[in-house]
């Protein structure tokens, strides 16, 4: 029966490949419909069980981190291709199985979005859960953050062995009080807390320091071209240089380390795993185009956007592209752009007070270089910047044109940063692969 399910999934994958389509959803969907108990049976057979990673921001990178750490000891099955719905986990199982139906894995590490984490638990109760954060994101899908927190509470209640929680997120610590699973915390040192504001703190609330003990704690952080951090992992302290840029990834490293400790791994092994993690899709990846470095930063919500904007300080771009799409996966509602403050991050435009001449303005913002807005909502983004008095050089909805314009506007050896929403990021990858292939 499982053999049939795997064949069905694999044949769907082959068919998609023949059609030239990437797909993580469809094979899982097909198998789910025909063999609804396939996933639960397969996961029950894993010696080390299942890890679920969820929260608003950092799921994909943290999943990569946990997988890289565990891969030093175990055979890891993961949905690292970004399919964070239940069907994406089924596809991952199919991909990790051979045509004879054998699944070569000891442990599964799944990132799941909040709603699908609940659905997943109805199929299989995970042994371990990592809760990263609850921030405003895609409110057009979930309604509001308190509702999102309620979803995560359901997932925590279903987890059988270990729940690892961000001690610096009060919405999460509140739901971790009465669980049957053992609870551990990760966190950041008090002096670093300002880098990681909670939703309330972003809107003028005071920073509250958690008194909960963290099994893994981010002690120090230096942001430059690379992200250098000091991490306390259990009883040890490790210096780590991450390949994925940004403060948010340093926090993700603390989360991944805390989760890895529940497997009984030592600090040195955990640190080594973290050092080897490549940036995930659009999370600080960089491309080279005729000597110019193009760095991609995925932005999905206000908190993530604010975090990503900080990378401008280290990268010093000569041009910056902000690409905003509004497809379902991006979020249809544009109001989130107004929860991001751009003036201090990009550098306000000097000597151009007032609203006129904001397109093709002579003085680019101090830190961001020549500024281009793109994507279906290029004009919305430009209006947002207009009200922060930041000069936009070009409003170009076509991503391919926008990226070319920005790249060839700057000198070889210069850096271009592209901030992009999810669906625009897929398109950017195609565009950049085409340009770099020439």
């Amino acid at each position: 029966m499982d053999l049939l399910a795997i064949w069905l999934g694999k044949l769907t994958l082959v068919a998609l490949r023949i059609l030239g389509r990437r797909g993580t959803a469809l094979p899982g969907l097909v198998v789910e419909k025909v063999f609804p108990r396939f996933l639960a049976r397969k996961l029950s057979a894993l010696a080390q069980g299942v890890v679920v990673i969820t929260g608003t921001n950092g799921k994909t990178t943290t999943t990569k981190m946990v997988s890289a750490i565990l891969a030093q000891q175990y055979r890891v099955l993961t949905n690292d291709t970004g399919g964070n719905f239940v069907r994406g986990t089924i596809t991952a199982v199919v991909q990790h199985s051979d045509w004879r139906g054998r699944t070569a894995a000891d442990v599964a590490v799944f990132e799941l979005d909040e709603a699908h984490a609940v659905r997943f638990c109805q199929v299989y109760q995970p042994e371990r859960l990592l809760l990263l954060n609850v921030l405003r994101d895609q409110l057009d899908r979930f309604g509001e953050i308190d509702m999102t927190a309620q979803l995560l509470a359901k997932v925590a209640a279903k987890t059988t062995q270990h729940v690892v929680v961000n001690r610096d997120d009060p919405r999460l610590t509140a739901l971790a009080t009465d669980l049957s699973a053992k609870v551990d915390y990760f966190g950041v040192a008090p002096q670093l807390r300002e880098f990681f504001p909670t939703d309330e703190e972003m809107y003028g609330g005071t920073i509250t320091l958690s008194e909960l003990p963290a099994v893994a704690e981010l002690l120090d952080l230096e942001l430059g071209v690379a992200t250098d951090l000091t991490l306390r992992i259990g009883a040890g302290t490790e210096e780590i240089t991450l390949r994925a840029e940004g403060a948010h990834n340093a926090q993700n490293a603390a989360a991944a380390a805390a989760l890895a400790l529940t497997f009984g791994l030592g600090p040195a092994v955990i640190a080594e795993g973290l050092r080897n993690v490549e940036p995930a899709f659009g999370r600080g990846q960089s491309f080279e185009i005729e000597g110019r470095r193009v760095v991609l930063q995925l932005v999905k919500n206000p908190a993530g956007f604010r975090q990503s904007l900080r990378t401008v300080d280290g990268l010093r771009p000569a041009a910056t592209v902000i690409a905003i799409n509004d497809d379902y996966a991006d979020g249809r509602d544009m109001s989130w752009l107004w929860d991001v403050e751009f003036t201090s991050a990009l550098g306000s435009t000097i000597n151009t007070p007032g609203p006129p001449r904001l397109v093709n303005a002579p003085a680019p913002p101090a830190k961001a270089g020549w500024l281009v807005t793109s994507g279906t909502r290029a004009a919305d983004m430009a209006v947002r910047l207009q009200y922060d008095e930041i000069a936009v050089g070009l409003v170009q909805p076509d991503l391919a044109v926008a990226v070319r314009e920005a790249t060839f506007h700057v000198k070889p050896s210069d850096t271009v940063v592209v901030f992009s929403t999810y669906t625009a990021m897929w398109e950017l990858h195609r565009v950049l692969e085409r340009i770099t292939a020439v």
Partner: protein, 237 residues
Amino acid sequence: MTTLTLVHLYPREMNIYGDTGNVLVLRKRLQWRGIEAVVVPINVGDELPADVDIVLGGGGQDAAQGDIGADFVRRAGTLRAMADDGVVMLTICGTYQMLGHEFLTKDGHRIVGTGVLDLVTRGSDHRLIGNNHVDTEWGRMVGFENHSGLTELGTGVRPLGTAAAGRGNNGTDQTEGAVRDNVFGTYLHGPVLAKSPEFADELLRRALARRGMSGDLEPLDDRLAMAAAAVAVGRPR
């Protein structure tokens, strides 16, 4: 030179869908015309300034509405007097609901409002979510609605406009928002003023006129905002 006073109601609790942007839009549009403005945030327990020109309030978590409810109602008399006095108010979503007589929750609780606007809201199980544009006497307003409360207007207010694409106040009568004197309420997030510059200037003109100042505002280059509005109208719900 007169300075206009803008009050921002409960910025900590009522800020969830970018409505704080309305404060920025008005402040900048005044500043760009050389008119001074101060923004006074009013949180629970704070006293309102004596001479208010414009009051702005946004949407919040349903739970937050409970936190601020008592404080809001404490101000009911003051807010009604301000409305009678021609103070300009723009209230969105949760704050709009709180300007009404009451909110009847799904489980039958009655939350008393401030009675500034003649309307009542009842909770529902269904959320009205999506792009919306509304035809009003100040042109087409573009925004995004996201609410489960259903609002019925009384005879003391008229609708802000007709919901052309979305569900509006209650999903049945196609009305959107409410107007009485210089008090406006709407479910449009976006923030609504970002892509409705004509309406933003209408609010400013009314506030200036109330101070006996000329309502002639120097025109601004709003082509980007109009382009953004045109794109939004063409997008799926």
